[in-house]
């Protein structure tokens, strides 16, 4: 049973670290499926984390924190849209700029407002999303295997974890079963086809970047108001980029995106768990190596294991009506 306990704990950690990846990955999916590359997921998430933690600290309400996080990320999404849709700017440059601006300004604002070295005050009680215990979790705890899985793995997460995983089927449904999804996929492949069909390319793409903002905002709020109890500088730590890698890995499809994020999350969780552990034959492996493992594996997986990932054809290209 010790092995099972360890495994469940590892998987539980996997879920927790996968959530921000998953939300950011789905956020990127909306944007990139519409033809707007978004390397600024990282920045939007970080802005969301900071805004969420700040608002929660000031108001004492996690929900207001979440709302503020979403607003901040949507605002940055609109900035990206203004640069790359309205002004047809380079999407990579705009995204990178957002990342830089957010990385710097969150620390400056944090220091100016809270004077805790760029951190936000520690959150507690209703200012934080607490774990939810699902009905029957306690009662089932003693049932072998299933009880353990239900009470430890499935129950006992914050509301945002469930939101993140519910977003997967929802995104699938939006993408493949609704008019909006059809048009969103079309505008990322051939905006001219959308334009000649009498649909506004601009409005469609703006809606996509707004959705990206909403989801990165939730991801940020999860980091600072649910998983942790406050904002720490650079707390996204490259998750936005890993989410982009997962998006490519999943070939821009929602369900594979979930599995890709779970895989990267698992590697991350495992690297924490195996730190300092002595392995048979190899002995003790340096912490740095373990930490680098998810990234190394990402490169290997992306390079060789998924076949050709074809991005949306119009991705990264501003739409200009041809003469």
């Amino acid at each position: 049973m010790a092995f099972l306990d360890a495994l469940v704990q590892l998987l539980d950690a996997t879920i927790r670290v996968s959530v921000p990846l998953l939300l950011a990955c789905l956020a990127g999916l909306y944007s990139e499926r519409a033809g707007i590359f978004d390397i600024g997921l990282e920045g939007k998430m970080l802005a969301g984390a900071f805004a969420g933690a700040s608002a929660a600290a000031v108001t004492g309400s996690a929900w207001i924190g979440l709302l503020t996080a979403i607003l901040a990320a949507v605002f940055l999404g609109l900035v990206h849209g203004f640069a790359s849709i309205t002004h047809r700017g380079n999407q990579i440059v705009s995204g990178v700029a957002i990342n830089f601006v957010v990385a710097g300004s969150t620390i400056i604002l944090g220091q100016a407002w809270f004077r805790q070295g760029g951190r936000t005050p520690s959150l507690a009680g209703p200012a934080r999303f607490e774990a939810i215990t699902l009905p029957g979790a306690e009662a089932l705890r003693e049932v072998p295997v299933i009880g353990l899985i239900y009470s430890e793995l499935i129950s006992g997460h914050s509301i945002l974890v469930y939101v993140a995983f519910l977003m997967v089927p929802l995104t699938w449904w939006v993408l493949y079963r609704t008019r909006f999804g059809l048009r969103l996929r079309a505008v990322g492949e051939n905006p001219a086809a959308v334009d000649t069909a009498g649909i506004s390319v601009t409005w469609l793409r703006y809606r996509a970047v707004i959705l990206t903002g909403v989801l990165t905002g939730i991801a940020g709020a999860y980091l600072s108001v649910a998983q942790n109890a406050g904002f720490v500088k650079d707390m996204t730590a490259g998750k936005g980029y890993i989410a982009l890698a997962a998006l490519i890995f999943a070939k821009w499809k929602p369900v594979p995106a979930m599995f890709a994020c779970l895989l990267f999350g698992f590697l991350d969780a495992a690297s924490i768990r195996f730190q300092g552990m002595a392995w048979p034959v190899i002995g003790k492996v340096p912490v740095q190596f373990i930490n680098a493992l998810p990234f190394v594996l990402t490169v290997i997986l992306l390079a060789g294991f998924i076949g050709k990932a074809i991005p949306p054809r119009a991705g990264g290209v501003p739409y200009v009506k041809e003469r």
Partner: protein, 509 residues
């Protein structure tokens, strides 16, 4: 509704200082096929884009079915019963046919019912017009002709009464084009109005009832097709008399310059594209290779020119072998006097982002006359480019203009000037007049004949049968990778057409 299907009155449109359309008046009768012909850049596409709401006219009036219409967006045009089949298809390539059909005309937020409705509507259209296509096929898996059919279905699904087709045959094989014309006639019989934009005279004569000619942004004439001739239309288009068939004397073939024997080429998938092909080209003759696109002609000339590796066979240039199965080097072949005008000037023949002068020496940039020590002799290059511009009448005569800004015909002249001015012994030419204006076609044909008369060996491939027939001294027909017959230039179109379709009569044994 009474009155003509479309009336355009005094349409003007400028882009910056360029007046694309000047005081255009046009009347299209209901239930007819109306051709609009003109050279590239004459303003045909602009005019139709105004009608489709893609652009706004600066001034003028549009009437649909006798009533003044305000068309500001494609939506207005669609609502007015206008459908457009663009030159470059407006299809989402990884969508299915039915998804493309409903895009923008879904009707409700959820797809399930709109797809169901589209399916039954497609069945009705198939019954009425014989336009069958698998609704669940993915666009990129369909042949170009079928993709075009999807575009037509898209317009009909939106209730189009007036169908505009912009250069619809540019991407089609002759057989597919004939099929398209049958569809257009059927649409006409069902009471639809068709506007066909093209720069190909043959198509106008083949399918239209009425034809309007545009030149430099103005509408110069409208004729009943039955009462006009190809010669008259060509003259109206270009503004001067045009020779549609080049005059040429009898060839006086000299020694063999290029000898191909048993050449076999496979493509990337391993499919045999050129199958044991042998022929010779002598000095002072033009050998034309006819065939429907995709029957191995492209791979054949690429192998000869050293840009594609052959699996077996031999090619001799002036009696010396070219290493076609190994690493034939196109640069080396140029030095040996084999010049190559590739089929695809945009991707192979030119670097569109370069200045004209740079493209006019591309591949010959390491010749001593263009070098000053290790550096390019910029002055010499520009002097040479200006010289070629004058000789080949390349317009605009600006050797510093980006190549992308030249028209198709002038781009082709840049390639031809580059290859011909090196005075090669053998010239391999692919599709010399694809997407080229009538005026430029005449010029290019004359140059090719002049090459022949100067004692060069010319190997020509073209999907335009007229071109093959008017230029070649000998015609080889390729079908499924094999040369299925050789004919003289007097061979009839019908006879060659049968060979191109793979119908080989029993040759005298």
């Amino acid at each position: 509704m009474a009155g003509p299907a479309i009336e355009l009155i005094g349409i003007n449109k400028s882009f910056g200082t360029v007046r694309a359309n000047r005081d255009i008046n046009l009347e299209v009768e209901r239930g007819t096929i109306h051709g609009i012909i003109g050279e590239n850049g004459a303003g045909k596409s602009t005019l139709m884009s105004i009608l489709y709401g893609f652009y706004q006219a600066d001034s003028g009036e549009i009437r649909i079915g006798g009533k003044t219409a305000s068309i500001r967006t494609p939506n207005d045009a669609i609502a007015g019963g206008i459908g457009m089949v663009h030159q470059h298809f407006m299809l989402v390539e990884n969508f299915t046919v039915v998804e493309n059909i409903i895009l923008g005309a879904e009707g409700e937020p959820l797809l399930k019912r709109s797809i169901g409705k589209a399916r039954s509507e497609l069945q009705r259209l198939e019954r009425e017009y014989g336009l069958d296509v698998d609704p669940d096929a993915v666009i990129e898996d369909l042949a170009v002709g079928l993709q075009q059919r999807v575009e037509i279905l898209k317009a009909l699904y939106r209730g189009a009464e007036i169908l505009i087709l912009d250069e619809p045959t540019g991407v089609l094989t002759p057989a597919e084009a004939d099929h398209l014309f049958r569809i257009l006639r059927m649409l006409k019989d069902q009471g639809k109005t068709v506007v066909l934009i093209t720069h190909k005279l043959r198509e106008i004569m083949a399918v239209t009832d009425t034809v309007s000619v545009m030149r430099q942004g103005t509408m110069v004439a409208t004729r009943r097709t039955a009462e006009t001739t190809v010669e008259e239309l060509a003259e109206l288009m270009v503004g001067r008399r045009v020779l549609l068939h080049v005059e040429k004397g009898k060839a006086s073939p000299g020694p063999v310059k290029l000898a191909v024997s048993g050449l076999t080429v496979r493509d990337q998938r391993g499919v045999v594209m050129v199958d044991n092909v042998s022929f010779e080209v002598r000095a002072g003759e033009i050998v034309g290779i006819a065939g429907v696109a995709g029957n191995g002609q492209s791979e054949l000339i690429e192998a000869i020119a050293g840009t594609r590796r052959a699996q077996s066979g031999a090619v001799m240039l002036d009696g010396k072998a070219i290493d076609v199965t190994g690493h034939a080097d196109p640069g080396d072949l140029r030095d040996r006097g084999l010049a190559h005008v590739p089929e695809d000037r945009h991707h192979v023949g030119l670097v569109l982002a370069f200045e004209e002068a740079e493209n006019s020496i591309l591949g010959y940039h390491d010749k001593p006359q263009f070098l000053k020590g290790p550096l390019l002799d910029v002055e010499a290059i520009h002097a040479d480019a200006r010289d070629k511009i004058e000789k080949y009448d390349i317009r605009p005569p600006n050797d510093r203009l980006r190549t992308a800004n030249f028209s198709g015909g002038n781009q082709q002249k840049i390639v031809l000037a580059r290859e011909m001015e090196q005075d090669p012994g053998v010239l391999v030419v692919g599709q010399p007049t694809r997407g080229v204006d009538v005026g430029a076609i005449e010029f290019i044909h004359k140059r090719l004949i002049a090459m022949r008369d100067a004692g060069k060996a010319v190997l020509l491939i073209s999907v335009e049968l007229d071109e093959i027939r008017s230029l070649s001294d000998r015609i080889l027909v390729m079908f499924a990778g094999r040369v299925v017959g050789e004919r003289g230039p007097e061979a009839s179109e019908g006879e060659l057409g049968l060979l191109m379709a793979g119908v080989v009569k029993q040759e005298a044994a």
